[in-house]
Symmetry: none
Subunit: 189 residues, 4 copies
Amino acid sequence: MGETSKPLGRPRSEDARLAVLHAADDMLVEQGYAAMTMKGIAERAKVGRQTVYRWWSSKAEILLEASAADAVRELTLPPGADPEADISAFLSALSTFLTRSDAGLAYRALLGEAQHDGKVAELVRGGDVLGEAARVVIRRAGAAGAFEGERDDALVAELVGPLVFRVLSGGWDPTEGELSAMARRFLRR
Amino acid sequence: MGETSKPLGRPRSEDARLAVLHAADDMLVEQGYAAMTMKGIAERAKVGRQTVYRWWSSKAEILLEASAADAVRELTLPPGADPEADISAFLSALSTFLTRSDAGLAYRALLGEAQHDGKVAELVRGGDVLGEAARVVIRRAGAAGAFEGERDDALVAELVGPLVFRVLSGGWDPTEGELSAMARRFLRR
Amino acid sequence: MGETSKPLGRPRSEDARLAVLHAADDMLVEQGYAAMTMKGIAERAKVGRQTVYRWWSSKAEILLEASAADAVRELTLPPGADPEADISAFLSALSTFLTRSDAGLAYRALLGEAQHDGKVAELVRGGDVLGEAARVVIRRAGAAGAFEGERDDALVAELVGPLVFRVLSGGWDPTEGELSAMARRFLRR
Amino acid sequence: MGETSKPLGRPRSEDARLAVLHAADDMLVEQGYAAMTMKGIAERAKVGRQTVYRWWSSKAEILLEASAADAVRELTLPPGADPEADISAFLSALSTFLTRSDAGLAYRALLGEAQHDGKVAELVRGGDVLGEAARVVIRRAGAAGAFEGERDDALVAELVGPLVFRVLSGGWDPTEGELSAMARRFLRR
DNA sequence: GATTAATCGAGACGGTACGTCGCGTCTTAGT
DNA sequence: ACTAAGACGCGACGTACCGTCTCGATTAATC
């Protein structure tokens, strides 16, 4: 019935796939986004170049696949004691993610690349990890009663926009005090 | 004594300088940041490559010099009738800047590049056109009495962060209604 | 005892063999030797690549098998009225073979490749179609009395060398007059 | 008046030109024609790849430039005592050239490549070193009275064709006796 | 006016990544 | 055992841009 017949020929190598993802991740951390080339990834992963191009069309795609799962994990938190603690913990996790985590480094690199590459922009818009995570926290706070008439996207932007903007534009690394001030301000609306 | 003696040799050509800046601006708009190469800029400006490298060390520097003045002009507004109108007008100008202006395109490209290039990050931090413009507007509103104990940077981020985040991460183009809602929310704190 | 037991498993596909030979021949004529790749042959013959590699180790081998029979046929002539006519007819056939026939194109390509590939050189030395054909004609003329003390190879070279050299080194296409002059010179020795 | 103005920009580097020619020559001798790649030549010559492509469009062109002068030198002989000695010495030089000299290796590789590459065929036809050398010897013998009504090309082919054919098609290495027999046969016509 | 010195356009230089192509091998399922 | 299909590691292809380096020609200020 709905069965999909198996594709012909040699099946894709899972080993090669993982080797590429890990190589990309490592190179981003060790050498940075600009020095991370398709050729370099292939060589470090001990994989043919064609194998990389067969499955990914750019280093951005590789990076997204390599880091999306990590990003989700790092930004998914257990509910906090009260809304303020919950929001504050999320902002703290977000700050750590953006300034210290490997996946966050990938996120910033991708968001950066998206500003001058339409294809990357679509990729970023598609896998909106940061927005998804923020929505979860906002809903948890909203269940307590707030934010009746507001649109999700606007709330997400209110919550993460200030923090993200400061990190992106200045390499800012916020203190706990600043984060809880942000959380309080977000809830008092 | 304190006078700087005129340098020897042939003086720098203003024609060449302007030709390079215009070529960079045009190429950014027509072909995008990635396709805008040092070689291409030199050729389009009908200028030797060494001449470009002599005065700028990267395409980011050229772009900054080419667009900073425009950016300041586009984000400098006459005072509005009341604080809400003033803030709202600023957000509108900022939105137009980011989504439609050439200088805004350059700003986004530079902010993007800054995420994976430390030198560009410093350039962007140095010439903080967006922050400067926001501070002016915030001070105008603050003169009326608000924001006593808060740090400038935090206020700037509260004001522009949500808008910038939405534009950067999704190509969002806000409506007037959304902008004035943003302005009201910013003032009610 | 002396009987060879039938090999196990699926027998070799004659369809596949012929498809490969025809594909190679066609590609040589249509696209030339350089553009005739193992991959291309397999695809045009609608045959797996492994099937090609299983039975032939290089495109030279395929070409030899594809053209050797044709070459022999084109260079085997009925005896002429007299030695001069016989030799002249052979030279004419050889000229046509080298400059116009598909098999001759293959012969030239193989002889060319043999100059910088030892394996092809052995193949060419082994299946010496051109020498075999020349020897037949020389023996027919020799039966009438000439060439007592001379070695075969030397005579073959005297007969075909001048013609082959001119074709190989300049794409020369001889006239009937030139060919019969050659034949006369060969016999007068 | 007839003066040609000097070209603009940095002039071509003679060092780079010679490094490429020597690298090509060495690689041909050490590794053979097939293993001699444009990439390999550039690397061995310690020269950028673009520099090779800027001045030569194929390895055949490089090889021709690298070996043509040597070929002429090796095939240019002082007049012999009598026509037979002269011709015989030439055939001996030709044989050594084809079977043992580096330039001869290049000649055979080029003649081979010419059979399946039209562009190389033109190059070979253009710089007809072998024919030129043969013509000199033939004229010297002809001055003594022979070959009145015959065309140059035909005589060249009669002289060198048999030898070249045997070397090309079988890797033949002739003895002195065979060479002087060839010389005698050529003169008796 | 001649000299000096830094600029200018032009373009070759040694490098290196690009994305593609063919190599010969391998691993599937199917005949 | 053989078939077609197609992924695999490998490495050369020819191109583009990098940033540097020579060229001859200009353009002022200094001698």
